[in-house]
Symmetry: C2
Subunit: 206 residues, 2 copies
DNA sequence: TTAAGCTCGTAACTAATGTCACCGATTTAT
DNA sequence: ATAAATCGGTGACATTAGTTACGAGCTTAA
């Protein structure tokens, strides 16, 4: 695991000390739900290791994938929700064994005033998530399912640094809010066009 | 027009003075484009009067409505983009005659450090837009066009405080990224269910 | 080892949405 | 005044996506 000071090197040393002094470390194993929709957010979360997927849920419990959070990044929504002690509007799941620094929210305001690097970090986190949401909106607004599927696979491949995507058609369908049959059909077409090769429980990007 | 200090009463008086001293006022008439996609953002914008619609555009120039900005609110994206002198990722249009305070971005950092109310204002603006985007994503991800249309009409009605919506079917179709015929069809159904009454160039909510 | 439960393929059908063609009515520009 | 453009209604059809149904192979747990 990369050490904290290296992952968050943009934070000034005094702030890094502050964080290490006040934060607690939580670990999650693959599949664990880190925060549920509606749960109260009491901490800001900084990812140290692993990988987190962030979902938006509807009333029926369908899970729509929004974005990934990687080591060195913070959960933008934990930054907002935490500052107001609000209920989480999203659900976050560990997709690998994941280590997270939990920072009590009371410190956020203080740091914001005293550490310029914290303020920049928070703004930058917001900015990045905001832009990711814009791209996501583009896709659901302007694209058909075949393009969205390709985007999904590419992103998965990039984020996990591998051409081999270990995932079932069912799970893809859930995260794109489609159905298994539709995804299988589209994947088959992609295979015929030579874009992927399909196997049980994994897809290979070509 | 409500005076500045009343619209932005959450900002501390010293900051209000700073703003009034440094800002320039720009006026736009109905239909004017306030900022185009790709244009460089050099100022933060605070709405004083009127109404602004914010769109996301695709390569073909289709315009997808994201949200409204009302007096007393700031453009969240002008806050982010401006801080980095980046190209705008959205297009904003005046839907009424609109007056906007333009604040040079150099001052943002300074204010952020010196005025707690500014920092809260920026964070709050982000938070609100973020949540609006989440709701928007819910709609395009989980809802069919009929529900999205109803949401569109309700929001329009609320934002403009009127049951009479002056808009053509074509424009609704554009902003929902659908087609005129589909919208006409769905509106007809809504009329048959007694939800609206249709007229040339306006729709009445019942 | 046997049953249950995933996983994926596929065909047939339905539903939702988009497209094309055409119409008459109204408004706007010249 | 006349032509051009906008507006909306509508039927026919195409495309995309979702649903139902079923089968066959693999994995897991009792």
């Amino acid at each position: 695991m990369q050490p904290f000071y290296q992952l968050y090197s943009q934070l000034e040393p005094e702030l890094q000390e502050e964080i290490e002094k006040n934060a607690t470390i939580k670990t999650f194993t693959t599949g664990d739900i880190i925060i549920r929709t509606g749960q109260y957010v009491k901490s800001t979360m900084l990812i140290l290791e692993g990988m987190v997927k962030v979902f938006r849920e509807n009333e029926e419990g369908d899970e729509f994938l929004m974005y990934y959070i990687k080591p060195g990044e913070a959960c933008a929504l934990s930054l907002v929700c935490a500052s107001k002690m609000e209920a989480s509007k999203i659900m976050a799941k560990a997709v690998e064994d994941t280590t997270i620094l939990m920072v009590p929210i009371q410190l956020m305001d203080e740091w914001m005033a005293n550490y310029k690097s914290w303020y920049y970090f928070v703004l930058e986190t917001y900015r990045n998530r905001f832009e990711e949401l814009l791209v996501l909106i583009d896709h659901v607004a302007f694209r058909n399912m075949d393009e969205r599927l390709q985007f999904y696979l590419n992103r998965h491949s990039e984020v996990n640094q591998t051409k081999k995507i270990n995932i079932s058609h069912q799970q893809i369908a859930d995260e794109l809010n489609s159905s298994r049959e539709v995804i299988s059909r589209l994947l088959k077409k992609m295979e015929q066009r030579g874009l992927v090769s399909l196997h049980r429980n994994y897809i290979e990007m070509l």
